[in-house]
Subunit: 494 residues, 2 copies
């Protein structure tokens, strides 16, 4: 609403505007609410509302000195004024700090304000800290999920069997997504899959797919791809699904905080916004992964299940072995080569990746009501149907049939170094975090061909046997990585 | 330390530098510590340390892509590198969030980093939230106080009887400080008194003193004034005493959070940094003041006492009536006129202000070992000695004897409006917060002469009797204030 300015120039101690009753009613604001004043593209400010009747006419706004001096605005100019819930958001955060439960409306206000950049990072930090220290009830987590979905874009598909899988993460390699998506889509399910890029790990699913495909789409483009092929393997970053999540995660990362209610709402909101009705959650556990004990993994899965019921989503979770990397390659190109080997049913395909992918696929298919899912999944993979579907998806994403050319061009980085076992014995540790670090030192995820190829997993090894091959485009990085391996021992033989 | 740059250009996921053992030892940093890189006055960045031996020579520093691209620095340039504890500070905050107790060293690191601007507001917000929600033990509060003092300037006086008084605040008017300081200094005590300006109240002690005196000094200048007259009535803002406090308060204010451990450490650190050995804390309580019940006021006072023991400070507290304003004037000039009337023993001086000032004075004198303090305090005030001392302090602060000229020039704002009681009865409420608001609407603290003069306090009143006079330089403000009074009723007659 455009209002005519009257500079009252009193020092209110903070930006304050004066409205009369009529104007306040039209703006739907009350005493102590916040309004948002926009004078030009760069000059904008929040202010607290005071209501006085006679000093000010309908259609006018009185500005305190704090605002007039900041905006440098003249009397009788016009300014765009809209209600803002900033002040209310502060009250809501304070309420959570005091340990009170928040209502659906309060949580929605908060998330809306975060999406509209009306909260500072410090204010978000207060909220995150309160969530962690005072906890959130299941109802609050559900309301939070709903608010995160509501304040963002949504994808819609007519098909009833829209499915998705999600892994809690923390495991090097472990690129099951392209395989699971290809088999499930081939079985007739719809999977509008969006993934993330690596933040601190060696590579994310989006980094891996990017080695042979475009990954950034508008929601309209994504819908077309999914409508055509039954699935997508896209990057989620540009779609604006539950965007409040990205802002909260940014603040959590300052201290690498692990805030369970936020994580639950984060995963669920992305799935709901993408239109999924059947969701499988993969929770790896074990030393060196995000969740260390089976009990915590189980409890975590049950919470997902409880939230999903509210949203009429069929959700199941599996607790998987997170002690060591899955697959041989760690790094975008190396992981894509693993994925292709499995899809192409090659002899030397990593069997752990194949097995885990089939396991997750059959679980998801079963969840969607497909009978004999285990057998069917294997049949689709073995027959080459899954690979055909994968090619279809990638070609749809690229807009042309160039997958063979893209695959042919895939190669690991130029320089390599083979590392052999220094003694015979048992490989008792293969640390996910440390192997991720080695890959990053070698240049991942930026250098797509860099990374680690694991010749061995946990189990017996003989002196002189191949342990791993390091790939990099830089001699220095290759040396650095070897030094890191010597110092931090990602693989322990006993 | 100047180091020679080698751009390694690997993507580390965050800014990382590589040093060899010798350089790391010289800088006193280890793997995962933070360093601070300064390339030019504006280009600076924090980075995490990695140590590798062969890639890098002594005196060289390897930069990750994140740093090279940000600094746009060439190979073989030199860059200034110093150890920084940022990363460690993050770990310490996380530790407090998890509810663990912090050691003296950890608290000191944190405060040191805050003073050196190495923490973001969001990181400070995490710490404040953790303090509030996980609490601080008495030992932690003491360590926090000590760290806040250590990381700032300190004043030192040879005299053994350095005394101070502090009021928790929240009461309109209540300008006892100039009176208490003048009497005590006249009795031979040393009072390097520093006060604050108003933030959300009508006026702070510093605003009141500023109506007739300079108030901003370096610590050297302040010391001279105190050495000469035995006391000061200065503004604390420019002295750098416990500066971490100002930064933490800024973050607390985002949500107007009331964090008790921080408040305790804040008050105590300022007193200790100012060299005080005898401290009297005034804790007003009652509806509409900061502390609502007598029990909470008592508990709060006992905590101050416990902290003071550790610092070998003799501390006492008094719990006073905080139900209504003290004195007649609310606003810088009006309050100064009250103070002068009391010091000059005028017939019409506000007796509540005189009484409370004498009460606080005798308590503080007694704490400092002065016998018959009650009688002596009154004698010093009645004899005019206190006023003489006050003149001496103000003249010392102004650097010339111009107090009479300054006092003569003191006058309330030009426009005034007398408000009379609309009915006979009992004044049952005189709300501190609302009267502060009226004064601010009238133009305080910026307009020194603006404010409210109270003709009545709680008690009986007759219809048509004078209730208060409003002073302002602006007709609009005068109207606004009257409207506020009609709407929010700061004074209730029943």
């Amino acid at each position: 609403m455009k209002l005519k300015v009257k500079n009252f120039n009193w020092l209110a101690g903070r930006p304050v505007v004066i409205l009369n009753n009529e104007t306040a009613k039209k703006l739907n604001v009350h005493v102590d609410d916040r309004v948002y004043l926009q004078f030009s593209r760069t000059k904008k400010i929040y202010a607290v509302v005071d209501i006085f009747q006679r000093v000010i006419k309908t259609g006018e706004i009185g500005l305190s000195h704090e605002i007039s001096s900041f905006l440098k605005i003249k009397n009788h100019s016009y300014i765009e004024v809209s209600p803002s819930e900033l002040f209310l958001a502060g009250k809501i955060i304070k309420k959570k700090i005091s340990g009170e439960k928040l209502s659906e409306e309060e949580i929605n206000t908060l998330i809306c304000e975060i999406v509209h950049n009306n909260l500072t990072e410090a204010e978000i930090a207060y909220f995150v800290a309160a969530e962690k220290l005072k906890g959130m009830s299941m109802k609050e987590i559900i309301d939070l999920t709903e608010a995160m979905v509501a304040n963002g874009n949504k994808l819609k598909f007519k098909e009833r069997k829209v499915a998705d899988k999600h892994c809690i993460g923390g495991i090097a390699g472990n690129r099951t997504t392209p395989i699971v998506v290809s088999i499930c889509a081939s079985a007739g399910l719809t999977l509008p899959k969006t993934s993330s890029k690596a933040i601190t790990s060696a590579s994310g699913t989006a980094d891996v797919i990017e080695t042979i495909s475009k990954i950034e789409f508008t929601s309209g483009e994504l819908k077309k791809i999914v409508d055509k092929t039954g699935a997508s393997l896209a990057w989620g970053g540009a779609l604006g699904l539950a965007p409040s999540d990205d802002k909260i995660i940014q603040v959590e990362r300052l201290l690498n905080l692990d805030v369970e209610p936020q994580l639950l709402a984060s995963v669920m909101s992305k799935k709901i916004a993408a239109g999924s009705k059947y969701v499988l959650i993969d929770i790896p556990y074990g030393k060196g992964s995000k969740i260390e004990t089976k009990e915590r993994a189980e409890l975590f899965g049950l919470k997902f299940k409880e939230i999903s019921k509210h949203f009429h989503i069929k959700l199941d979770f599996v607790i998987t072995d997170g002690k060591q990397p899955i697959g041989n390659g760690v790094g975008p190109v190396l992981e894509m080569l693993d994925v292709l080997a499995v899809l192409q049913n090659k002899q030397d395909a990593p069997q752990d990746l194949r097995k885990k992918s089939l396991f997750l696929t059959s679980k998801l298919m079963k969840l969607c009501g497909i009978k004999n899912s285990e057998k069917k999944a294997q049949e689709i993979l073995d027959s080459g149907k899954a690979y055909a579907k994968f090619r279809e998806i990638i070609n749809a994403q690229n807009g042309k049939e160039e997958i063979d050319y893209k695959i042919k061009a895939l190669r690991p980085a130029r320089l390599k170094k083979l590392i052999r076992a220094k003694k015979s014995g048992e490989i008792i540790e293969m640390n996910n975090k440390k192997i991720n670090s080695v890959a990053r030192i070698l240049g991942t995820p930026e250098t797509k061909g860099a990374g680690v190829y694991l010749h061995k997993h946990l189990g017996p090894v003989k002196r002189g046997e191949k342990l791993m091959t390091l790939y990099s485009e830089s001699k220095i990085k290759l040396d650095d990585a070897q030094r890191f391996i010597r110092e931090f021992k990602p693989v322990v033989i006993k």
